[in-house]
């Protein structure tokens, strides 16, 4: 189980403290490791995409595909998130075509911009 102190919700609301399930863990001297399961550390900032089925503990969608790390800009100008290639720049969809590595236009986004793009996809304000 992972517990987050929530700063804000982009969609839905589950309270100021949020717990969700991630596969793997330790029992005694044995460690269970699931390839693909995200790892978390105390004080990390993240954007997580969660799902739930019925009255159950939420789970992170698509294992680490549902986790985006928030990192401080090298010049300390703010917090950044690296968006997935499929996230459009604004409302609508991204242009079809090959994804080219090293494309200068693909950069980490300020957290607020990332949130706005997600909100646009989610269909409206929080």
């Amino acid at each position: 189980m992972v517990t987050l102190e929530v700063e804000s919700y982009l969609k839905g609301a589950l309270g100021p403290m949020l717990r969700f399930r991630v596969p793997g863990g330790e029992l005694g001297r044995f460690r269970s490791i699931v390839v693909g399961a995200p790892a978390f550390a105390v004080d990390q900032r993240v954007v997580v995409f969660l799902g739930a089925r019925g009255p159950s503990v939420p789970y992170v969608l698509g294992l680490s595909q549902g986790v985006f790390r928030i990192v401080r800009a090298l010049d300390n100008s703010g917090w950044l998130v690296t968006p997935p290639a499929i996230l459009p720049a604004g409302a609508g969809t991204v242009a079809a075509g090959p994804i080219v590595r090293g494309d200068p236009s693909r950069r980490a986004l300020p957290l607020a911009d990332f949130e706005q793009r997600v909100l646009a996809l989610a269909g409206g304000p929080r």
Partner: protein
């Protein structure tokens, strides 16, 4: 995100992965403060198969297709890994019972995960106790020899997961495209260990590529692997500073094959072994199109803020030796 997106087979290496040789991505575990490569100490690796099939794939089909995938890895002439089918079991994969088990499980909540591999490790010794592979029965599967439209090829996915079971991490040797209306599709992959699957119906993932062969041979070297082949090593820098996580690709000019590796420490060092002797072209690129955690543990900061670069000369790989230190300089975006 929608189901029509390309599906990740698995998503991340969740723990340390750096090898002393700084080659390829492997799984590792920290024992007593020291990093150990996670690999099987004894072979053949014995595995069980669940006795439950799904629509279109019986338990017998499952065992046969998994057996073909294991045989493909075992057939690599420069690697010593071997596997042995130990029987059917009623136990589902994911049960920590000391037995390595492959089988279907219904995991509808993992709606972008076709299959995943797990390990149980003795944290006191670093010993690999078991490794299970589950295939998500929420998806349609096929074992048809030529594939089947709209169904995922079990053998292809098994081949990828067995690479993990053997200790290999992901390779970044693949190219994808965004589709009209959303979603992502693999255009081509030069490694079975590329983290995104081909579209349903494709059987392109049944064949190991040079990168897979180099990786498994590096983990379990056999015969004259180290004498007959060679390596390229060096470091990647940006603004004179070493960078971590740069993807370095060695293109074999004579054979047309490619092998990839990463700069894997704070000094920016990289190494690619198992290369055929002869001329190679080197390219360095950021993995800025991917889920970085598909390749590295979350705690590492991977630099993706640079442009693609090439070395300005041909690098000749010597037989049984190394190219010598090569510096790849990149510039920020």
């Amino acid at each position: 995100m929608r189901r029509s997106l390309a599906l990740a087979l698995v998503a991340a290496m969740v723990f340390g992965s750096v090898q002393p040789a700084l080659a390829y991505l492997k799984f590792g575990v920290t024992v007593g403060g020291a990093q150990m490569t996670l690999k099987w100490a004894q072979t053949p690796v014995r595995y069980f198969v669940t006795d439950q099939g799904v629509s279109g794939v019986s338990a017998t089909d499952l065992q046969a297709a998994a057996g073909r995938a294991f045989a493909t890895w075992q057939a690599v002439p420069t690697a010593s890994i071997a596997y042995q089918f130990a029987g059917f079991t009623a136990a589902a994969p994911g049960r920590d019972d000391g037995l390595s088990t492959l089988g279907f499980r219904s995991r509808p909540e993992l709606d972008r995960v076709l299959a995943a591999t797990s390990f149980v490790v003795d944290a006191a010794t670093g010993t690999l106790v078991e490794s299970d592979i589950f295939f998500n029965s929420a998806f349609p599967w096929s074992v048809a020899p030529a594939g089947e439209a709209n169904r995922y090829d079990f053998e292809s996915i098994a081949l990828h997961e067995i690479g993990h079971l053997s200790g290999l991490g992901h390779s970044a040797l693949g190219e994808t495209e965004l589709r009209e209306g959303g979603g992502r599709r693999v255009l081509g992959a030069e490694a079975v260990m590329f983290p995104i699957a081909f579209v349903a119906g494709s059987i392109a993932g049944r064949t190991l590529k040079a990168d897979d062969i180099a990786g498994i041979s590096d983990l379990y070297p056999d015969g004259d692997f180290n004498q007959a082949l060679g390596s390229i090593s060096g470091r990647v820098t940006k603004d004179g500073q070493p960078i971590f996580g740069a993807h370095v690709v060695a293109f074999d000019v004579a054979r047309g094959s490619v092998v990839g590796t990463f700069s894997l420490n704070a000094q920016g060092d990289f190494s690619a072994g198992g290369l055929s002797p002869g001329p190679h072209v080197l390219r360095v690129e950021p993995i800025d199109d991917a889920d970085v955690e598909s390749f590295f543990e979350a705690a590492r900061t991977v630099d993706v803020d640079f442009r693609v670069g090439f070395i300005d000369r041909i690098v000749v790989v010597p037989r049984g030796g190394d190219s010598g230190e090569i510096t790849l300089r990149v510039v920020r975006k």
